[in-house]
């Protein structure tokens, strides 16, 4: 199923990451209230100055970020229509185009990254092309903090699995021309079982300051600081390598994170979790996120020959030998050519046994690197925003060796941050889906973890390599703000000032501190901040943290005719507290 079946398209390239990271710390941002934290009466200028000052400490590598993440030097590199990797299809060497807004649902944490975007394109208009309008935002999961341990700088050690799916009923367009792969995609999409296409990509070897040597980053941070002090617009995007795959999305498969059979890591430093599919004669592994690089030169760790086996319930006794991988199957060249997807031939009889037995990936000395977790409870909406007072239903799809379970399977959900550790349970329906009610009771960020199966232990915390989880951000109602007189003083002081301080990049498009400009762009602001456009690339604020009360006050101002009073800010002051803040690390 999924990208682990053919036909599929491979791509490879690079992506920039340009988030504002000033909101990663409680000293600068209150993620529960969704508000920028100002020092007493100091205003925007002082806040911005402090954010710049933090660049030379371990605190802020990108105060002028834009949140934009853009593919560059990214091209289709091969296809597999069932006969193995081919580089001769007409779609090969076409540009892959993607621009999204990187937003962490939880600003303080690193487990809830997402990319808001409008569409994605494989190939260009007029040529062989897949044009895929967004229905569901891109979600980052299975973060691997042991991927590139030689680059210890912010998230430089990590890699991430990104995924979303494009329903065939929502504008997905395929222009095959002379591409055999796209012809097969188009043919497959006619089947009722095929919902559309899934794209999955892996980002890794993230560099900061475009520096291959993190030891240089302190000096480069000083250079950035000096640029910022000099004025202008000084973004500092990080950048990653990426490999990816586009394949079929079938009924019963999660849209935003991998389904298939989950092989979870037992040796995180050697191999991170992967996904697998066994067909009659093949085992296909998605190792895109799994094998570490040994350095910034991107050479893969040589784990020697790896054996794929299926084991008895004791987890040790081998009941089927599925085949072996050699280093050449997962080395850098192979990885980049086929996005880390490895297929090996399997004896039919052994494959049959593996249908009901856990798969393991072992080293030659039988060290278990990966072991299957048969039951997986996967939330269908992994990152959820609520307004205070709002209630929604969370659906959790339970997979049993990659396929939806039937009815009656128990799913437990718990918030690992609560002291009680109490969980709520629900049973799956005939489609393998269990539902939970979520209520936004107050402004906060919560996470919930899942366990499937009668009596299964609920994880005590989130390990993104092994845990399935959902993040929920509830924005406070701010009814008091909604009730204020819609003057410029209140709308700036209670609403716009938050982003005027936090997002200097906004100065490029609209001076949020200029009442005339704000008024003159009233129609555009209405459109960009409308909740109906929440998923759109250009939604404002990018960080999705405008409360209902703030929105009401803003609209009252935009729609009104009240006089525009001047706003006087206190003179800027340096905050030593902010200077000392620590750089947000990768793991919590």
């Amino acid at each position: 199923m999924s990208v682990l079946e053919t036909p599929r398209l491979f791509f490879r390239g690079r992506i920039t990451w340009d988030p504002i990271v000033t909101n990663n710390r409680p000293q600068q941002y209150d993620e529960n209230e969704g508000k920028t934290v100002f020092d007493s009466d100091n205003g925007v200028a002082a806040f911005r100055k402090d954010a710049i000052a933090a660049v030379t400490g371990p605190g802020n590598w990108n105060p002028h970020g834009t949140h934009r993440s853009t593919f560059y030097e990214t091209f289709t590199v091969g296809v597999d229509t069932g006969g193995g990797l081919s580089t001769s299809d007409a779609i090969v060497k076409s540009p892959v185009l993607f621009t999204g807004m990187l937003v962490d649902l939880e600003p303080y944490g690193a487990f809830s990254s997402q990319l808001f975007f409008d569409d994605m394109s494989f190939g260009i208009q007029g040529g062989c092309r897949v044009f895929a309008p967004r229905v569901t935002r891109m979600t980052g999961r299975y973060i691997n903090f042991a991927r590139n341990t030689t680059y210890k700088y912010v998230a430089g050690v990590a890699s991430v699995v990104w995924q979303t799916s494009f329903p065939k009923t929502s504008g997905l367009r395929i222009d095959p021309h002379d591409s055999s792969l796209l012809q097969k995609f188009a043919e497959q999409l006619k089947h009722d079982d095929v919902l559309g296409l899934t794209v999955r990509w892996n980002t890794y070897r993230t560099l900061y300051f475009d520096s291959l040597n993190p030891a240089n980053n302190t000096a480069l941070a000083q250079q950035l600081h000096d640029k910022l002090v000099g004025g202008g617009f000084q973004p500092n995007p990080a950048r990653s390598e990426l490999v990816g795959v586009l394949g079929l999305w079938r009924k019963g498969e999660p849209a935003t994170e991998p389904g298939d059979r989950a092989l979870l890591t037992r040796q995180p430093g050697r191999m991170a979790s992967a996904h697998a599919r066994v067909s009659k004669h093949q085992l296909t592994l998605d190792l895109a996120n799994s094998v570490p690089e040994t350095g910034v030169d991107l050479a893969k760790l040589n784990l020697g020959d790896l054996n794929a086996v299926a084991v008895a319930p004791d987890g040790a006794t081998v009941v089927a030998r599925l085949g072996s991988l050699k280093y050449a199957d997962y080395c850098r060249e192979k990885y980049e050519a086929s996005a880390g997807i490895v297929t090996i031939e399997v004896d039919w009889g052994e494959a049959e046994k593996a249908k009901t037995a856990d798969i393991q990936i072992r080293q030659k000395d039988d060290t278990v690197l990966l072991a299957e977790a048969a039951l997986r409870a996967v939330p269908t909406a992994p990152n959820i925003y609520l307004d205070e007072g709002e209630t929604t239903t969370l659906s959790v799809l339970v997979l049993d060796r990659g396929k939806p379970t039937g009815s009656g399977v128990q799913v437990a959900m718990a918030n690992p941050d609560t002291s009680s550790g109490a969980s709520t349970t629900s049973l799956t329906n005939a489609e393998g889906i269990a539902t939970f009610s979520l209520s936004g009771t107050k402004g906060q960020v919560e996470s919930f973890v899942f366990a499937a199966g009668q009596g299964a232990a609920v994880p005590q915390g989130i390990n993104p390599q092994t845990t399935t989880y959902v993040y929920v951000r509830t924005l406070p109602a701010d009814a008091d703000i909604a009730g204020l007189e819609p003057s410029w003083t209140t709308v700036y002081g209670k609403v716009l000032r938050n982003w005027h301080a936090m997002a200097p990049c906004m100065d490029n498009w609209l001076d949020l501190g200029n009442p005339d400009q704000v008024k003159s762009f009233a129609a555009m602001l209405h459109e960009l901040t409308a909740k109906a456009n929440f998923e759109a690339f250009r939604f404002m604020p990018v960080t999705r943290d405008m409360t209902t009360g703030e929105r009401a006050l803003l609209y009252a101002f935009l729609d009104g005719t009240g006089a525009l009073e001047a706003v006087v800010e206190a003179p800027p002051q340096v905050s030593l507290q902010r200077l000392s803040r620590a750089m947000r690390g990768g793991a919590r």
Partner: protein, 342 residues
């Protein structure tokens, strides 16, 4: 078709002179493209907007790369603001035609026709390798030939003639994957190849080396309101589906605002023009300092670019004395305005 005066390259100074002209040429293409771009009404012409914006961005890249090559040869680039209407730098008559006079035109078929004329590739293969100089010397050359001509000479320079890391712009902050340092001929050759292919396409295809539609054909898609589409014919392409151009989705902007007498227009229109000119002047000044190696100045230039965009958007909504008319930015270099206009 733009024709440039043919100049033999016998010395590094000749090459430097041509590189300086290349920088001026790339710079001069930006205002006409931006004028057309800015004049598109919001909410209309998304496909056309994206195509023009894409080309303008690549022209900025080309200018940066040309500056990098010149810097690598040890010479500081000089940015000279162009005047409109007027010929492109180095533009001469050629092929029996008068020099192309470039105008600032709002989004229209005429504007696209002018852009196509600027970007038009030479019909058929027109290599202009250095060795060809031994044949009868031509008197003019196209932009593509101009760059190949330059490339041929640069190939003959010894490695010692190149400076490493001198005032180089890179993609660390902007234009990822597009702008790169030039430290020797290999880099310069890569830059020139990219500039030519993005402008004209490859010899056998309307696509550039990156698989994108080259500039001429991007403008042609807008002009014809059709998409250049793969086809099963001898040329491999045909004009097919509608692109979706709305020629009415444009502000009623006058052409060549630099030639317009704003003294008879309302003060708001004059002020709007001043803001545009001030932003453009800052842009030129900051870019000049950036290509001279001043760290951080590129960021200042980008900020000025955004300021220009904002000023243009505002100017395009302010009526002139003729109330049905507005004016976009004149792209006039007026140092006296910098710091004086808010």
């Amino acid at each position: 078709m733009i024709y440039l005066e043919f100049k033999a390259i016998e010395t590094v100074d000749d090459a430097i002179e041509l590189l300086q002209m290349a920088i001026a040429l790339e710079f001069s293409t930006l205002p006409p493209y931006l004028y057309a771009l800015y004049s598109i009404r919001p909410g209309t012409n998304a496909a056309a907007f994206e195509r023009i914006r894409f080309v303008a961005m690549e022209e900025m890249v080309h200018m940066c790369l040309a500056c990098n090559i010149l810097n690598a040869l040890g010479t500081n680039p000089v940015l000279t603001a162009p005047n409109y209407p007027g010929p492109l730098p180095g533009g001469i008559s050629g092929g029996g035609k008068e020099p192309l006079i470039i105008h600032l035109l709002p989004f229209s078929k005429d504007a696209m026709a002018q852009a196509m004329a600027i970007e038009e590739p030479e019909a058929g293969p027109m290599d202009f390798p250095h060795e060809a100089l031994e044949a009868a010397q031509p008197t003019f050359m196209t932009i593509g030939q101009f760059y190949h001509h330059l490339d041929g000479f640069l190939a003959t320079l010894p490695a010692s003639r190149w400076s490493r890391g001198r005032n180089q712009l890179d993609d660390r902050q902007f234009l990822a994957g597009k702008v790169f340092a030039v430290n020797g001929f290999t880099d310069a050759h890569r830059a020139i190849d990219g500039i030519v292919s993005e402008g004209e396409g490859t010899r056998d295809s309307p696509l550039d080396f990156g698989g994108d539609v080259a500039h001429y054909y991007r403008f042609a898609e807008v002009f014809y309101d059709q998409v250049l589409t793969k086809a099963d014919n001898s040329k491999g392409y045909a004009w097919k589906d509608k692109l979706g151009v709305d020629w009415n989705g444009v502000y009623p902007a006058i052409a060549d605002p630099g030639s317009h007498d704003f003294s008879k227009d309302p003060p708001t229109a004059r002020a709007a023009q001043d803001r545009c000119d001030a932003a453009f002047t800052r842009l030129v000044q900051e870019l000049q300092r950036a290509v001279a190696g001043e760290g951080g100045r590129l960021g200042n230039a980008v900020r000025a670019m955004f300021d220009l965009r904002m000023a243009a958007k505002q100017a395009l909504t302010v009526s002139l004395a003729v109330p049905t008319q507005v004016a976009g930015p004149s792209f006039r270099y007026r140092p006296s305005l910098v710091g004086a206009v808010q």
